[in-house]
Amino acid sequence: MTPPSRTIVPIEAVTPETPSTVTLRFPWTAGARPGQFVMVWIPGEDELPMSLSYPEGPLGGVTVKAMGETSRKIQDLRRGDRIGIRGPYGTPFDLTPHRVLIVAGGSGAAVLAPAAEAARREGHSVDVALGAVTAGELLFRERFERMGARVEVATDDGSEGTRGYVTPVADRLLEGNPYDALWTCGPEVMMRRVADRAERAHVPVICSVERQMKCALGLCDACALGPYHVCVDGPLLPWERLKDLEEFGRSYRDPAGRRKAYGPGRP
């Protein structure tokens, strides 16, 4: 019942992935598995939940998109700076499916890339539908290709791949191929749409969900989503649990616990 405690780690490497995204690597071996997340403490600033884009040691890593104040500050960290890590928390991916379709929007690739790698290591096939606003923002495209996944891309501005959202790309792949799992992370409206289609194609869907987090220990209720707590029951949640929640894809809670509708353009 003793939860994992906090460790202070020096950043060993700072790798810009896209103009708005950076990967921090740090010495950390806690036996984490793909899909799990950690609480990243930026001393003097804030502490944010971050999926592990490199869950396995000896160098763990998170990949952070500049969104608000803190995630922007994270882009300015340098080698040798120290951050706090506690975790790992949450549920890992089940790696048994043989033919996996991955649908990643924006920074969603951060959690899906290591999951795909693990699936590939098991010898499974992985197809990836990868979306971003523009070509330069396609996160981990090369990483997916290097592991031998088939990657199809979409960009909002059409600078690469299909123009527009990633959902039509996913639909196309779903139609043409017999998948036994679909893993998705990205804006909730996107995940809702993709999961809906997959359900009709009888493909089980796992969504990686984001909510406000404070304790990450299943106590404070900040991350409540229907009857679930994303920090313990998630962040991976099967579509069957999500589809009847009227909040999923429509509203979230702010740090005061107020319900807010998702505006256009945000997850």
């Binding site: 019942m1 404070k214 106590l219 313990v232 107020r258 319900r259």
Partner: protein, 328 residues
């Protein structure tokens, strides 16, 4: 099967195990699931007049087997939005105790009136949060202010009022007596214990707020001491809180003087399923002790068996083996 029902200041509960304020209490769905899992009732997150985002993270620091340190900063959606959550919890059948915090007797009374309209079965006044400037224990450490606030709330609403007392005091019994004088119908004790953790590498407090409150196993002995002292000082029922994670812990509080208990930190890990587990264990343990009703043993440890009979069973029932002395 031992009878676990409780009358808490006129509120009937199916068992004495309540969800503590601030844990799983921000949303109606979470409160409903605590009740569905076996809780006797739920206490809401402490609600204030206006929405508050609370402090920046880190707001919680796990301290290994000792417990958790937290300084949430009373985040809450405010009394205007919160009733929707209570509706959801009540729809699930849960008796809901509405927790409120405010800075003045007047503000407490206004908030209480509003909270009373939501269908809660009782109010709990947070006079004890150890780290919110202008609220909680900053006002709740002074018996006169406690008395005034309680009186003001009791005069404003028609519901049982529980005063939640801080352990950060020289005299918990004095605070409880003040609440009783003010008309409180029950005492809840305790809130978290003022505490701090420092990161040595970074030479700074870990919580964004600096000071915080300790909860979990470390504070069980502290909560028990407070309940013990309060039981000797007041007539009204006591709700024991602090480090409860098993039927045995709940029974310690019962014997120290608690009529009901609240569970918070221990839910981390097992989740609300813990309520069902403890309720089952509690029945079985009471049966084994020869106690047929939970309520019958409130405060029993204050009158321990004297002299030679101390080693005999304090309860009539199956655990006593009466055999002539010297049987090999």
């Amino acid at each position: 099967m031992a009878d676990l029902t409780v009358d808490l200041a006129g509120v009937p509960l199916r068992n004495p195990l309540l969800l503590a304020s601030g844990i799983w209490g921000e949303t109606g769905a979470s409160m409903a699931s605590a009740y569905a899992a076996g809780a006797g009732g739920v206490v809401t997150k402490s609600i204030g007049t206006a929405p508050r985002t609370g402090y920046a993270n880190p707001t919680v620091e796990p301290l290994g087997p000792v417990g958790f340190l937290n300084a949430m900063g009373l985040p809450n959606p405010g009394i205007e939005e919160y009733p929707a959550e209570i509706d959801v919890a009540r729809a699930g059948g849960a008796p809901v105790i509405g927790s409120i915090f405010a800075a003045t007797p007047r503000e407490f009374a206004a908030l209480a009136r509003r909270m009373a309209e939501t269908g809660v079965v009782a109010l709990e006044l947070n006079l004890s949060c150890p780290h919110a400037r202008g609220f909680g224990s900053e006002i709740g450490r002074d018996p006169r202010r406690v008395e005034r606030i309680v009186r003001s709330v009791v005069g404003a609403v028609d519901l049982p009022v529980l005063a939640k007392i801080t352990p950060n005091t020289a005299d918990p019994a004095g605070l409880a007596r003040a609440a009783e004088r003010g008309g409180a119908h029950a005492i809840s004790a305790i809130n978290t214990v003022r505490a701090l953790a420092i990161d040595v590498d970074l030479a700074r407090p870990i919580l964004a707020h600096g000071l915080g409150g300790l909860s979990g196993p470390a504070i069980k002995p502290v909560g028990l001491a407070c309940v013990w002292q309060i039981y000797e000082a007041v007539q009204i029922p006591i709700v024991g809180i602090g480090g409860i994670g098993s039927a045995e812990d709940a029974l310690e509080y019962l014997l120290a003087g608690a009529r009901a208990v609240q569970i918070g930190t221990a839910l981390s890990g097992p989740g609300v399923a813990l309520f069902g587990t403890i309720a089952r264990e509690l029945s079985a343990r009471l049966d084994a002790l020869g106690i047929d009703r939970w309520e019958a043993a409130v405060g029993r440890a204050h009158r321990p068996a004297p002299g030679p009979s101390a080693a005999r069973s304090p309860f009539p029932g199956p655990s006593r083996m009466a055999e002539p002395r010297g049987t090999p």
